[in-house]
């Protein structure tokens, strides 16, 4: 039996840049094929080719051994290829049922068969084990439910190939497990699955075959048993493999900020901790456990209901991000594109945005030389790889954008730096560079709170880790005593689902 889908030497150029050069890939029925590679390795281009969005400049796509041409998403669906894109391509205003069948709504005598569509959507979701009111508009749903709808959409075209482009990056651990369970069922039904992810443990734990791409080139394809984490990483980044988390031990000084009995944001309750100079404090937990909420209370975005924040012995109440900045707190937000950066601005303009007031001279005019000097200094310290401080930030890679964002929030000269998921969606090479920068900052005496989903990352970087669960601190662990399983258990362990949910305020 020939493979369901084969790619033979596919090549794709955008202008002068070759993003894919002669890549081969084979997808077999009933097998999960993981595709790994750094950002910019060509994974997303390959996905878009399978989805009919891009057409190869050279090479062939074969379906059941027969060459095919796909000129749009509709063609790809007709071939039985379902693609779940990185950013769910759903319609927030439309109902769940319509989202499942959009573009292919069942019809009867020329009109859309609403009752039929509703019952078929119900059937599909039932098959996936998801309980949803199919008439709810999608904008009222969470990320995990949205992903289930995308998969239901794939089922509705009787897909023989399912392509998942980084499906897990926005999900919590529990939701990831659910997703894998769903995909596992499809695998048993004989669907060929292509699975793109940044997470090496997901590759090792979930796939049957692995292909690694690097800079648009095919590096290796082999059954998963032949890989170790180090092998995958080495194949992804080539020769410039660095130590995973290069933490330099900093000298830990006196407490900089203390938090006592902090409650608020709907469900955070009685949170107590201190951060010392030179210390990296890790916040671990599932999405929605209260980590980011504590950060937003410290940064003055949300006002706490109760509790005290102390900086250098004095009790403070930051009422706005501006207040918090004046108190020496910086927050590097999780969402780079919307909350962090102005993508059409230059690196210089992005970096100096928080300190424009300070850079104003006579008649409110900017002191350009000083601005340039600051931007150049910090870009160099953060090792931003760019043509210079005048490059438009939106044209940088994700890792370099994150470095610009770090520079932006270091320039005000904070005492406490809060990093919310600083390496999410960033490739391995850039990740360890950012880790090195963070570690370096700590040795200079900065206090750092680092929020992350990735236990290993925190174990590599933090001096202490607080595990959040349901708005409370469930566990504290010190460097030297870190235990991955204990951390995960503390974050995810909920005796019964009924008391697992935080009591959200109405």
């Amino acid at each position: 039996m020939p493979p369901v889908v084969e790619l033979h030497g596919v090549t794709k150029r955008f202008g002068a840049i070759e993003v894919l050069g002669g890549v081969d890939l084979t997808l077999d029925a009933g097998r999960v094929h993981a595709l790994a590679g750094e950002n910019g390795a060509g994974k997303s281009t390959l996905v878009k080719m399978l989805g009919g969005i891009h057409q190869p400049d050279a090479g062939q796509i074969l379906k059941d051994g027969v060459p095919i041409k796909m000129l749009g998403a509709a063609d790809s669906q007709r071939q039985g290829i379902a693609v779940v894109h990185q950013h769910p391509a759903l319609f927030p205003d439309l109902s769940v049922a319509e989202n499942v069948f959009i573009g292919r709504q069942p019809r009867r005598m020329g009109r859309i068969d609403w009752p039929g569509m509703i019952s078929r959507a119900n059937e599909l979701l039932l098959r996936l084990g998801v309980a949803l009111d199919v008439l709810t508009p999608v904008k009222a749903l969470g990320v995990a439910e949205r992903q289930a709808i995308e998969i239901a959409r794939a089922l509705s075209i009787n897909a023989r190939v399912l392509v998942l482009d980084e499906p897990t990056s926005a999900l919590s651990r529990r939701e990831v497990d659910r997703l894998f369970e769903l995909v596992g069922r499809l695998k048993v039904e004989g669907v060929a699955i292509l699975f793109i992810t940044h997470f090496i443990d997901e590759i090792l734990g979930f796939s049957d075959d692995v292909t690694v791409l690097r800079s648009g080139r095919h590096v290796i394809t082999a059954p998963v048993e032949e890989f170790t984490p180090e092998l995958i990483v080495r194949a992804m980044i080539g020769t410039r493999l660095e130590a995973f988390f290069p933490k330099q031990q900093a000298k830990i000084g006196a407490p900089v900020i203390g938090v006592r009995g902090l409650s608020g944001a709907g469900f955070v309750e009685d949170v107590n901790f201190e951060v010392c100079a030179g210390e990296i404090l890790g916040f671990f937990g599932l999405v929605g456990a209260g980590r980011s909420e504590v950060a937003s209370m410290l940064f003055g975005i949300v006002r706490p209901d109760e509790g005290e924040i102390e900086i250098a012995g004095a009790s403070v109440r930051p009422h706005s991000p501006r207040d918090a900045m004046r108190l020496g707190i910086s927050l590097v937000p999780e969402d780079r594109h919307n909350q962090g950066l102005v993508l059409p601005f230059t690196n210089r303009a992005n970096e100096t945005l928080p300190v424009l007031r300070r850079l104003c001279g006579h008649f409110g005019l900017m002191r350009r030389d000083e601005e340039k000097k600051i931007a150049t200094d910090y870009s160099a310290r953060m090792r931003v790889v760019a043509t210079g401080i005048e490059q438009v930030t939106g044209t940088l890679s994700g890792g370099n954008q994150q470095k610009v964002l770090l520079a932006k929030w270091l320039i005000p000269g904070p005492r406490l730096l809060i990093l919310d998921q600083p390496t999410r969606g960033i490739d391995v090479g850039a990740k360890s560079e950012i880790h090195r920068v963070i570690s370096q900052l700590a040795t200079e005496g900065l206090s750092i709170i680092m929020i992350s989903d990735d236990a290993e990352e925190l174990m590599g970087m933090a001096d202490r880790i607080l595990v959040f669960r349901n708005g409370r601190i469930a566990m504290e662990s010190r460097r030297g005593a870190f235990d991955r399983e204990a951390l995960l258990l503390a974050a995810a362990h909920a005796p019964r689902s009924s008391d697992a949910q935080p009591p959200r305020a109405a």
């Binding site: 693609v83 391509a89 205003d93 109902s95 573009g103 009111d133 949910q501």
Partner: protein, 347 residues
């Protein structure tokens, strides 16, 4: 969001809140409610409002705006906008009236067809720019607004085609009554129902909502986005051409500068009728109701004897008022959705 146009979703979602809140969540009902209040208020001040001759005037003035607003609503739902509708109506009206003055014995259906074809061609011009050359609709139609209007003014050369050169049969269209209602009003009702049905029960209609809600997603879902956008601009052009013909029939005189504010009136009708300016939600029924509300307001202000200048301010207040109302409603609905979802996931 909650509308006839959003499909049967509304049926399943009225779980929370009192009866009034539940009814208000269906936008069209809220609009009918508002319309009733306005009518009652006007009648209290000026009972002549309810005289049948006056009501007929209101209906007729709503009719022409309404038909154009239907197309405008579909365009806005698809996350586009058409600023050239007034110029398309004027062109359709002038060309068809000019043709009729040369062929006074031609059937009126031919005239209507010519109007629709002219409108359709102008709409195709917009479609070419927006869907073909990917120029943002607001810029493209700003350009065609000037081109179409300038072109017809140049063609007309200041001429006016008045009732004296047009056959009587033309003006008679506006006087045909069926079951006490003018043919024009019936036409508007028919078109509203037809387009409302299309929006809800055909793939073309639902895909317009989809691509207005998430254009990138629509492409990824295999919807021929550009073909749909082209289609809806051409549809708007055809409706404008038809209204041009009706315009001449109703007013008897046609020149190149009629309907100067029609784009603003139709956008206002759509927005007040609950069509989201960001695309993806609302309905043509809402837009039709919006045009009626404006016609009633205009008539009421005239009857009561308030200065015409105040009319502008009242219309502006009505637009802002409804938009604020909708956004609060949407936020409330979203919150309660989220709460009920949370409750579901907890149980």
């Amino acid at each position: 969001m909650t509308g006839i146009g959003s499909g049967p979703g509304r049926l399943a979602r009225s779980r929370q809140g009192g009866v009034l809140a539940r009814l208000l969540r269906v936008r069209e009902l809220a609009l009918i409610f508002a319309l009733a209040i306005i009518c009652a208020a006007v009648t209290l001040r000026e009972p002549r409002f309810l005289e049948s001759a006056n009501l007929e005037q209101v209906a007729l003035s709503a009719t022409l705006v309404c038909i154009v607003a239907l197309g405008q609503a579909l365009i806005i739902i698809a996350r586009q906008i058409d600023l050239s509708v007034g110029a398309m109506v004027a062109t359709g009206a002038f060309v068809s009236a000019d043709w009729l003055s040369v062929h006074p014995h031609a059937s009126i259906l031919w005239v209507a067809l010519i109007g629709c074809v002219v409108g359709g061609l102008l709409g195709a011009g917009n479609a070419l720019l927006v869907a073909g050359l990917r120029i943002p609709a607001i810029v493209a139609t700003l350009g065609t607004l000037a081109i179409y209007r300038g072109g017809i003014i140049a063609l007309a050369g200041g001429r006016q085609i008045s009732a004296t050169v047009l056959p009587d049969s033309y003006g008679h269209i506006a006087e045909i009554h069926i079951l006490g209602l003018s043919l024009l009003v019936w036409l508007a009702i028919g078109l509203t129902c037809a387009l409302g049905w299309m929006a809800r029960f055909t793939r073309f209609g639902r895909n317009l909502y989809a691509l207005g809600s998430n254009p990138e997603g629509a492409r990824f879902a295999g919807i021929a986005v550009r073909r749909h956008i082209a289609g809806v601009f051409i549809l708007s052009g055809v409706l404008c051409g038809l209204v041009g013909v009706l315009w001449g029939a109703r007013f008897g005189t046609v020149d190149a500068v009629i309907a100067p504010d029609l784009q603003l009136q139709t956008i206002s009708s759509a927005v007040v009728g609950g069509v989201s300016i960001f695309g993806g939600s609302g309905s043509v029924f809402g837009a039709a109701l919006g045009s009626i509300i404006f016609a009633v307001l205009q008539n009421g202000v005239q009857l009561i004897g308030v200065s015409q200048f105040w009319l502008q301010a009242i219309i502006g207040a009505a637009i802002l008022g409804t938009v604020i109302f909708y956004s609060r409603l949407a936020r409330r609905a979203e919150r309660s959705e989220r709460r009920s979802r949370l409750a579901r996931s907890r149980s």
